[in-house]
């Protein structure tokens, strides 16, 4: 029995010293930022269902980058799949898709100033006025109408020929009182919405899966389709870049790519007279050109470019490389003549940008 008693004491001692350790968590530390002046927000999607989306901020003048700024400024996660960011009324609006939320942040301190909840699956936000904005969604056949002052959803715009399951509205641009939105996932349309009545007033069929849309200085909409994929019951075709007259809402010209190509991320420069997009390489053309360029702006570098933006002030081209989608992606910065200026790492899957 004495032997057993010794064993027992020894066991208790070992137990207390080894097995009661605690995990180390650090919570509640808010960092102060003061990022006045112009800069670039990089929206890092993170991995679906892992809640590791982040926000980065890049100062083009100093070439300094700060990663995880939302977490550092607010001591909480940004959420799951950050999709886009828009600046309006002195606030940065970050749409976090699978967290069903849009955060409004101070673009200098990165601190949250408000949030809008209650979405199905928000993708982009577009401001009509100080008191009205539209939020596009996937897996919902409605565009949400929100009051950014009150951070509330105030209504919905029903989109035709969509169910909840097949619903997909994406990027939005405005021409006068009309807003145009591309319908992307298993869709082939651009919808025209009257912002005075919040109704869809027209729709235009383009190719399969228009991924993005911009409005140039001539009042022309540009959308680029990805053509679907082989075996898709929705169809598979050669993708195209479409030029659409905003006033007549009709296709002026379709610039065809080869079947199997995957063009995406059509973007404009600051003066809205030069288009850029990704199709393995980075391509560029003037908005008045009548032919696709023969040579790319930047050649394919053995990776899948995931994001693209053009600095509205300098014309510098920023390209995001998500690498293997499991590590911080890299951003490459080029001049408008194609010379690399800088490169830096951001967060996991850098997919969208927002200029301040």
């Amino acid at each position: 029995m004495r032997l057993f008693s010794t064993y027992l004491r020894l066991a208790v001692l070992i137990f207390l010293s080894v097995f009661t350790g605690c995990m180390e968590w650090e919570y509640g530390v808010e960092e102060e930022f003061s990022a006045s002046g112009s800069g670039l927000f990089i929206v890092n999607e993170g991995n679906f269902n892992y809640g590791n989306a982040t926000l980065s901020y890049y100062n083009p003048a100093t070439k300094e980058v700060e990663n995880e700024i939302f977490y550092r400024a607010n001591a909480m996660r940004l959420g799951d799949v950050a999709q886009s960011m828009t600046l309006y009324d002195g606030k940065g609006w970050v749409v976090v898709n699978n967290s069903h939320v849009i955060f409004a942040i101070n673009p200098d301190t990165f601190q949250e100033v408000g949030r809008i909840e209650g979405f199905t699956s928000p993708r982009y936000i577009h401001f009509i006025s100080d008191e009205k904005a539209y939020v596009s969604q996937i897996w919902d056949n409605r565009i949400a109408i929100v009051n950014p002052k009150r951070y509330e959803i105030t209504g919905y715009i029903e989109c035709p020929a969509m169910t909840m399951e097949s619903g997909s509205t994406e990027q939005m641009v405005q021409w006068g009182d009309y807003l145009f939105v591309n319908c992307w996932s298993y869709q082939n349309r651009i919808l025209k919405i009257d912002t005075r009545t919040d109704k869809v007033v027209a729709e235009l069929e383009v190719g399969i899966q228009p991924t993005s849309i911009v409005l140039d200085r001539n009042g022309k909409l540009w959308t680029i389709t990805d053509g679907g994929y082989e075996g898709s019951p929705y169809g598979y075709e050669a993708p195209a870049l479409y030029r659409i007259d905003a006033e007549t809402f009709s296709i002026e010209k379709a610039f065809r790519f080869s079947r199997g190509d995957a063009p995406s991320e059509v973007q404009l420069n600051g003066s809205r007279d030069r288009l850029y997009w990704i199709n393995d390489d980075i391509w560029a053309m003037g908005v008045d050109d009548e032919h696709l360029p023969v040579r790319p702006f930047l050649e394919y570098a053995g990776t899948i470019y995931y994001g693209l933006t053009i600095c509205p002030l300098s014309g510098d081209v920023y390209i995001a490389d998500a690498i293997d989608y499991q590590q911080p992606g890299k951003i490459y910065r080029y001049t408008q003549t194609g010379e690399k200026i800088h490169e830096f790492y951001a967060g996991i899957i850098p997919g969208a940008f927002c200029w301040k």
Partner: protein
């Protein structure tokens, strides 16, 4: 609820302490055999690294799944997405699909995904479980680049009627029920087991991934705090029924039928970063699966043949619904998959004297899979479904020769060949050897080497969008070396242990990566070097007539390094540990028994896991190491009419704030009590 359970736990244990005991109580769980018995080295296991789980581990309580058993009793890392949620394993630093799992010979890895959800396997339904580490898995099957797990049931071998009923009541309104009915005669054995578990699973936790705002009238934020939330939408209801019938026809012939039915209805819990309203969404996975195996064995003095035939039906449904505000849940995502599998196996063994053993086996699985992933409206306005219909036959055959030229030395050669669809693997060789260094300490040196292949899953090949029919098989070489020992004295103590080193290279590792069109598609991209050390020890001590201790511990060090080419010049993942695989893990399980009391302590440790392939540790990508401790106290009573057991369990004893996967909450300290009754039915 927690307070109530603590009180109940104390009352029950106090009551149990005062209860009368009877001398004819049959102590369970610990009998210490002679080391010489343990020292017997079966020809079939020459050179293999094998971990077997005892009945007391598997039957510890009815609420445990095999994921729990593996977590606290093996070197395998279990990645769990929450309580009663998907739990996959990483065996020796490999991915979940690199662990092959069989149930009574039938492979139960999903033919679509390749992996097995261990949270769906109640450990009370398993009578025999063992791990075959690395090369050793080639004895059973191909594709086990990490290893294989062999699960089986066996007849109770008792005569007359038997009934066992256990009721568990736990925190978060968790109810577990288990019923077993048996009947046995000299030739027939019938057993029916049923288990039902349900819980809203709405445990509370402090959500430190989000903060709630306090606003003034103008919607300005005037304060913030980390909310205490409940695990939202995490309810589950799981029903399992296992029917077994076995017949001993005499003269070495036996037949058995085993059928296991699962009906599961589980919500998928919301992430910690989800700002959606729980009432607005319904995110649910349902499964109905029937696995059945009919087997025949014919045993003779020097040879054995056996055959198995089986059928698997598995229907799974995933629904993600949303109330758009009209009070009805409308479908956002509706996925269905239906798998029908036919299974057949023949095997034979032939001994020549006690020096040679030859074995042969051939296994066939024929899968028919219908996958319906998404409903769409086509351009012409008609409805269509995105998915695939595919069938595939999977054959795996092996021949082996095992030779023990003397009592110390054993050699074994296994040659395996596999065919999936029309794709053949090369001959898969595996060589095993062992040598008894010391008879006194039963010290045995072991070594083995094997090649192995894993074929792409049906989703890898055909999933829409992204399936890649041009994928190559993953392939690898594994080397194993180890030493084991066992010392002891009958009915006094037994100490055994093993140490093994392994080195494994996997090429053409399949990874799902995004395509330029935005969806994911699998590609053969990585080369992985997984290596490390596994230590294991078991101790059984009878201090005196009443005090007994049964303990086991494991430790593993498993670097799993990406040694492939960088994907781009920016790729920082080369030379780094694979994400979500800990380098270090350890377990301890100790059961102290005094008379009819038993105290059980379980502990596990996982080192920090990386969430990024580059091994960057960031504020949002941090998974700290954690320790987990569970305890239970059990008391048995024996009455003239029945045996009773009372058991109280405390999980997460130190209320650790831990996560296994980012943004997936885990419960803090929680409790469950179990009451079991086994009527004696004329066996007084």
């Amino acid at each position: 609820m927690r307070g109530f359970l603590v009180i109940l736990f104390v009352v029950l244990t106090a009551y149990a302490a005062q209860a009368q005991t009877t001398e004819n109580w049959i102590d369970e769980g610990l009998s210490i055999p002679e080391v010489a018995v343990l020292g017997e080295k079966p020809m079939k296991d020459i050179g293999t690294q094998k971990t077997s789980f005892s009945e007391s581990v598997l039957k510890e309580n009815i609420a445990l799944s095999m994921a729990d058993v593996l977590t606290f009793n093996s070197s395998i890392f279990v990645k769990t997405y929450g309580r009663a949620t998907l739990s996959t394993v990483s065996f020796r630093g490999t991915s979940p699909s690199h662990t092959q799992v069989s149930w009574n010979g039938l492979r139960i890895n999903s033919p679509m995904l390749g992996m097995t959800d261990f949270s769906m396997i109640p450990s009370y339904f398993i009578d025999d479980a063992s791990l075959l580490h690395g090369t050793s898995s080639v004895n059973d099957t191909g594709g086990g680049l990490g290893g294989s797990i062999r699960l089986s049931t066996k007849p109770l071998q008792a005569e007359g009627f038997g009934v066992q009923y256990i009721q568990g009541i736990g925190s978060f309104r968790t109810f577990d029920e288990f019923l077993r009915l048996t009947y046995g005669s000299r030739k027939w054995q019938f057993s029916t087991r049923a288990a039902y578990s349900s819980s809203p699973n709405d445990f509370k936790y402090r959500n430190r991934d989000k903060r709630e705002n306090i606003y003034d009238e103008d919607k300005n934020i005037i304060g913030r705090y980390y909310p205490i939330e409940r695990n939202r939408s995490g309810a589950y209801k799981d029903l399992h029924i296992l029917q077994e019938i076995s017949f001993n026809a005499g003269r070495g012939d036996s037949f058995a039928l085993k059928a296991w039915y699962i009906n599961s209805n589980r919500e998928l819990a919301m992430l910690t970063t989800d700002y959606g309203d729980e009432g607005d969404f319904d995110n649910r996975q349902r499964e109905q699966t029937l696995r059945s195996v009919l087997e025949w064995n014919h045993l003779r003095q020097t040879w054995k043949i056996g055959a198995k035939a089986g059928y698997v039906y598995s229907w799974t449904a995933y629904d993600f619904k949303r109330d758009p505000g009209n009070g009805t849940m409308e479908v956002m995502t509706r996925s269905r998959s239906l798998t029908n599998t036919l299974f057949g196996q023949v095997e034979g063994e032939y001994y020549i004297g006690n020096k040679w053993l030859f074995t042969a086996n051939l296994t066939a699985h024929q899968h028919f899979v219908e996958s319906r992933d998404k409903n769409i409206i086509r351009q012409d306005g008609n409805k269509a479904i995105v998915g695939y219909d595919q069938s595939r036959v999977e054959l795996s055959g092996a021949l082996s020769a095992k030779w023990r030229p003397n009592e110390r030395l054993g050699l074994s050669l296994v040659l395996r060949e596999e065919m999936f669809g029309r794709d053949f693997s090369p001959i898969i060789p595996a060589f095993f050897t062992e040598y008894e260094l010391s008879r006194r300490g039963n010290i045995v040196l072991k070594g083995s080497v094997s090649q192995n292949f894993r074929f792409p899953t049906l989703n890898d090949l055909y999933f829409l969008p992204g399936g890649n029919p041009d994928l190559r098989k993953e392939r690898g070489w594994t080397y194993d070396a180890g030493v084991s020992f066992a010392v002891g004295r009958e009915n006094s103590f037994l100490l055994s242990g093993s140490a093994s080193w392994f080195d494994s290279y996997v090429k053409d590792w399949i990874l799902w990566l995004a395509t330029p069109k935005g969806f994911l598609s699998p590609r053969n991209v990585k080369e992985v070097h997984a290596y490390g050390v596994e230590l294991k020890t078991d101790l059984a001590v009878a201090f005196n007539r009443h005090w007994k201790l049964d303990a086991s511990a494991t430790f593993s060090w498993t670097p799993s390094i990406n040694e492939g080419e960088p994907m781009t010049e920016a790729d920082k993942s080369v030379g780094k540990q694979l994400p979500y695989i800990p380098e270090l893990s350890a377990t301890l399980s100790a059961r102290l028994q005094w008379r009819r009391w038993a105290f059980h302590y379980k502990w596990c440790y996982y080192s920090e896991r990386y969430t990024m392939s580059s091994n960057d540790i960031t504020l949002t990508g941090k998974l700290p190491d954690y320790y987990m401790s569970n305890i239970s106290l059990e008391k048995g009573f024996s009455f003239s009419w029945a045996d009773l057991t009372l058991k109280g369990c405390i999980n997460n004893l130190f209320d650790e704030d831990y996560i296994s996967v980012l943004s997936r909450p885990m419960p803090g300290i929680n409790f469950e009590i179990f009451i079991g009754i086994t009527p004696k039915w004329g066996k007084r």
